[in-house]
Amino acid sequence: MHPQLERLQLQTRRHFLKQCQLGFGGIALASLLAGDSPASPRYVINPLAPKKPHFDAKARRVIYLHLTGSPPHLDLYDYKPELVKHDGQPCPGEFLKGKRFAFTSGVPKLMGTPRRFAPHGQGGVWMSDAIPHLHGAADEICMIKSMTTDQFNHAPAELLLYTGSSRSGRPSMGAWATYGLGTENENLPGFVVLISSGVQPNGGKNSFGSGFLPSVFQGVQCRSKGDPVLYASDPPGMDRELRRHSLDTLRDLNDLQARELGHPETLTRIVQYELAFRMQTSVPEVMDITRENKETLEAYGAQPGAASFANNCLLARRLVEQGVRFVQLFDWGWDFHGTSPAEDIRDGLTKKCATMDKPIAALLKDLRQRGMLDETLVICGGEFGRTPFREGRTAEGGVLGRDHYPDCYSMWLAGGGVKGGYTHGDSDDLGFSIARDKVHVHDLQATILYLLGFDHLRLTYRFQGRDYRLTDVHGEVVNGIVA
């Protein structure tokens, strides 16, 4: 974006709002200050104010469930009887030629899934026995079996998925969504990140960063212990009443300055402090799952005080319910190489899925029951897929694992304008390549933006003389999955 426009947006610009109507909503300062404003009623341009997208949106908010490391889709979603038939046989050379793999060289052995598969729901979406609770949600699920990406290492693949580029420096998907739509609740961050299983994403904070967009659009990482949002608690010894008094003094002193020097940014700052004060109350409230009833906690398998994926699924619902635009979950531990029993696609996968299957099924059901699923896009997947053959390093051991695989994999979406009980695309008989309806991660990005009401070609930001977008120079909307 034009540097001027950027500054104009982030600062208070009466004249600009009047003349240019950039699309940022104006809000009267007086109304923000609970009616007793000492300041004259001017307009404040709030970069997070709700904005209209390019066209009618199917989805108003997103919950993205990232299974960091990338789950073995051939043992969860994509059933390949031919691969089972050829289990243990050397991988045909045609599938290896010109390919690079992270941990496999030479000729690996094909590996059919040891899991039992069946079609579920009216739409007959195939799933394995590792995710029994999701079977019941099959008719909400839009399975894509023809995903592909360009990267086969975790960090670059995750960056490509979330920022459109495998190199650092670009804004993340949630940042783009918040930049485009603002937030529906100013008392909460517009883009919230929840992390479970103790490890942050492969891309570090870049996977939810704002890149070259203003930092106000970056994902705010909420914690399960301590302040849920950093520094939301008043310092020890200060109660709310005293904080209110101190903020009143701060506001009055700032207002004297605003009158003296006439700088509208001073008024913007007053507004930010008032928002912060309210955020101090609203964030702990929304993050407090003890406010949920026992049945709900049990449905999700959530336990107050824990730092679990289950808790985060429940929090995701609470957050979108309160108007948060984009909730991004990262759960570590899906990198099923077979280097330890936890990474075995039999017992290891069963155990890992037990932490994910029930909460996600509960989330979908909960959103449906509250009438929110149609407007909430839920997405679940990893940064790439896993090989139809056994990983090279662990091929001789007793643990069954698969290597990283970018060419063809599965993931799913639900709610927010996508077809439920539907399977899009397919892989070939052995799962090596896409048989039909290829969906590149850039296409997925374009589709997510489309569902949020954006033409991905037009949701741009001028930086270094170029209009950047999430989809880089690629991306086509996957119309086939749109309801």
């Binding site: 975790h154 650092s168 070259f212 930092s215 302040d227 008094h245 003094t249 928002l275 741009t460």
Partner: protein, 757 residues
């Protein structure tokens, strides 16, 4: 974002000065292609009719080209895109003003269109003869004549003459000089990143010497804190961090580079020398240790240690970053797009990209976990210590640039679509044809490139550097897009002034302290920053500089100032990065160590922000909230935001609470005895001015309310005044200290405190 084109035009016109011309000039001013027309064509037409032959559409063989005079006037079969002097006969005018969706340019599918004003400008330019000019920034600056003025009393130096000429044109008058307190605070913050103490401010205010300000500037430029403050800008450009990046993001020992930057700035190393040392210090004859450390500039690239990664792939990624960073830092040119295809807007081909790549392709480093090659350096003072048996002195190692022996030189080939496995024709090191050639007979290595970057004939570097220093002090560059000086960048708001400054830099042999002094001693810089309703409506971004600069401080300054005012700030310089208090997340990096850290002991908790350990995947959270970048790639310009999360940092982050507690102890021990005296002391210490009666009353009232609140609650008071700072001084009432902590917390959060004003 959707912005209706007509409104965008309005802004562009404002920037190029069109609408600010006095209303009485009826004759149409001569249009300049580079300034007035090229930005329109670049934005709307060059994608299909520009330098990139592979994307070019229309016209005869090779497609229609609108970025060159030949291309525009080529015979298209009896008709011409542009017929100089005859807009009605020019096909381009017919097409851009057509209402037929099959005819109109740009085609509707591109989502682009020309506004009526853009069409009329283009038409007017053709009417005036369609004179073509090379892009302004590709032409070497020549010293412009100083403009004639109505008011010759105001200017203090040449900068002011250029600015005043423009103000007079817009019927504006400069603002009066800022009061002495505001001025000393402003210049102290700008030169050292730290506020003056009240005593320093007072001594300046009462200094009758007519040269008092200039002498003060000299003194500030000589302070060690100068280099610490100005290093931040350079470290953003150098993407300096204390970790290697990507998923596991392990620690990297490269802080000797940070110290090199501070020392070089403090020593006022000429910028050309500073450049040559960093790009090619290793290739100088008998390089010193310092010159080797300097080359760590380009070892700040990321290293990918994730299992299963191809080292050659990420070695290439690092070289790409070196090319992009070099072109961004010195040439203000975004070249990244030419890695995959010829540039769409500027005359930079993919082949030329890889010719630049070839300069960096002989470096020995190869995405290795050990970061080799390394230099072992004994810190100043280290080698003098007696090497007695028990304590062996271990040198600090730092990654450096070192080229492979000639017989092992790599061959550089064009990489199709930027993919290191899809190779095309071989290329040799060289610079793009649009820029001046390398000097005859020079070797084709990094040293030649470095010298070329700062050669007096390089049209870009002096402008880019002058603009960047200007941006630091005035808040917005003369070219607002300080990261982009090409076709897609901004036009300079004051082109003559920018050229004058660029020439000045070269003429003074890149004396950067002298350059800064020139800027801060101008009358423009010294103006009051008060914003009148008139100025707010005419010039909200202060491009005309009819008032002094006022904008929020950087993340580093916000922290340093709070620590300085509270008395906690450690003056210790240099050395390994430190770990001040940061909140725990209980997480580890992917395949890496904990993202939490053990807080440093003693004064290392309170060092200046630039010494804070910079882990790329987890930048220090409070600084990230105040728009510090993550230093993974070169950052030319930070965006300044104003958000509620920033308020939470300065209100509640233990670092700032501790500062308020320490400040409270200063207030009660050194600020007099009555609440009024103490409030005055506190106010002056923070804001460097006397409070007015209302302001004083507000603070005293808050203090009294706080004292009353804490009197019956000693435990709460102890927490407020002592957690986390620690043991309370026995000679003061705890409730009093707690109440002053609350007052201090308010002062450290005032808009005025966070602003340079």
């Amino acid at each position: 974002m959707r912005h209706p084109p007509i409104q965008l035009t309005l802004i562009v016109s404002l920037l190029t000065g069109w609408l600010t011309l006095p209303a009485h000039s009826h004759a149409k001013p001569p249009l300049d292609f580079s300034r007035d027309i090229k930005p329109i064509l670049s934005n709307k037409c060059f994608f299909c009719h520009g330098p990139d032959a592979s994307q070019r559409k229309g016209g005869a063989e090779g497609g229609l080209r609108l970025d060159t005079a030949e291309g525009m006037t080529v015979d298209l079969g009896g008709y011409f895109a542009v017929v100089p002097g005859k807009p009605a006969e020019s096909e381009i005018i017919r097409r851009i003003s057509s209402r037929d969706p099959d005819e109109v340019m740009p085609p509707p599918a591109t989502n682009k269109s020309l506004s009526p004003q853009e069409i009329s400008l283009t038409s007017e330019w053709i009417q005036q003869g369609a004179k073509f000019s090379v892009h302004w920034s590709y032409v070497k600056a020549v010293r412009p004549d100083l403009p004639a003025l109505k008011d010759n009393a105001w200017p203090r130096n040449e900068i002011d003459r250029f600015l005043l000429a423009r103000m007079e044109n817009a019927a504006l008058k400069p603002s009066p000089e800022a009061d002495r307190f505001a001025l000393i605070r402003r210049v102290s913050l700008d030169l050292t990143g730290l506020p003056p103490t009240w005593e320093e401010a007072e001594s300046f205010v009462h200094d009758r010497d007519p040269q008092a300000y200039e002498r003060r500037v000299d003194r500030l430029l000589a302070k060690p804190a100068f280099g610490e403050h100005w290093a931040q800008m350079w470290l953003d450009l150098a993407r300096y961090a204390d970790s290697a990046g990507y998923a596991d993001d392990p620690p990297r020992t490269i802080w000797l580079f940070r110290d090199y930057v501070i020392r070089s700035l403090n020593a006022n190393k000429p910028f050309d020398q500073f450049t040559i040392e960093q790009i090619a210090g290793d290739l100088l004859a008998n390089p010193t240790e310092e010159q080797l450390v300097a080359t760590a500039f380009h070892r700040n690239t990321l290293t990918n240690n994730e299992g299963g990664t191809n080292d050659e792939e990420f070695r290439n990624a690092a070289i790409v970053d070196r090319v992009n960073t070099t072109m961004a830092v010195w040439m203000g040119t975004t070249i990244a797009c030419a890695q995959c295809h010829s540039h769409k807007y500027d005359p930079l081909s993919q082949e030329e990209y890889f010719k630049l790549f070839a300069f960096f392709n002989q470096s020995e480093d190869a995405d290795r976990q050990d970061e080799s090659p390394l230099a072992s350096i004994y810190e100043p003072g280290q080698e003098e210590q007696p090497k007695q048996g028990h304590a062996e002195i271990i040198p600090v190692t730092v990654p450096i640039m070192r080229d492979l022996p000639v017989d092992k030189h790599r061959v550089t080939k064009i990489q199709h679509r930027g993919n290191f496995l899809e190779l095309g024709a071989e290329v040799t090191a060289g610079v793009p044809a649009a820029f001046p050639a390398l000097s005859e007979g020079a070797s084709r290595d990094r040293l030649a490139l470095a010298r070329w970057l700062v050669d007096e004939n390089n049209p870009l570097t002096p402008r880019v550097i002058a603009n960047r220093y200007w941006e630091q002090l005035f808040g917005i560059g003369i070219v607002a897009s300080s990261e982009e000086f090409g076709s897609q960048g901004e036009q300079p708001f004051h082109p003559e002034l920018l050229d004058w400054l660029a020439v000045k830099l070269v003429d003074t042999r890149w004396d950067m302290k002298a350059f800064i002094k020139l800027l801060v001693t101008s009358a423009a810089y010294r103006q009051s920053s008060k914003l009148t309703p008139e100025l707010e409506s005419v010039d909200p971004d202060n491009r005309l500089l009819a008032r002094g600069p006022r904008f929020r401080m950087s993340a580093e300054m916000v922290r340093d100032q709070a620590l300085a005012v509270s008395g906690l700030l450690s003056p210790k310089m240099y050395g390994p990065p430190v770990k001040p208090v940061q909140p725990a997340f209980g997480l580890t990096a992917a395949f890496g160590g904990s993202t939490d850290w053990q807080t440093s002991e003693g004064e290392d908790r309170y060092r200046r922000a630039l010494y804070t350990t910079f882990r790329r995947s987890n930048p220090y959270p409070s600084m990230a909230t105040f728009d510090a970048p993550n230093r993974e790639v070169c950052t030319v310009r930070r965006v300044r935001t104003n958000t509620p999360l920033q308020a939470l940092v300065t209100l509640n982050d233990p670092v700032y609470v501790e500062a308020a507690q320490a400040f409270a102890r200063r207030i009660v021990s050194g600020g007099g005895s009555s609440p009024g005296e103490r409030a005055r002391f506190a106010f002056r210490s923070c804001l460097c001015r006397e409070p007015n009666d209302q302001e004083l009353a507000q603070l005293v009232t808050l203090y009294e309310r706080g004292a009353k609140h804490f009197q019956p609650q000693p435990e709460k008071a102890r927490q407020m005044a002592g957690d986390p700072l620690g043991t309370l001084p026995a000679d003061f009432s705890v409730a009093e200290l707690a109440a002053w902590t609350v007052v201090g917390n308010v002062l450290l959060n005032l808009d005025e405190f966070l602003m340079k004003r």
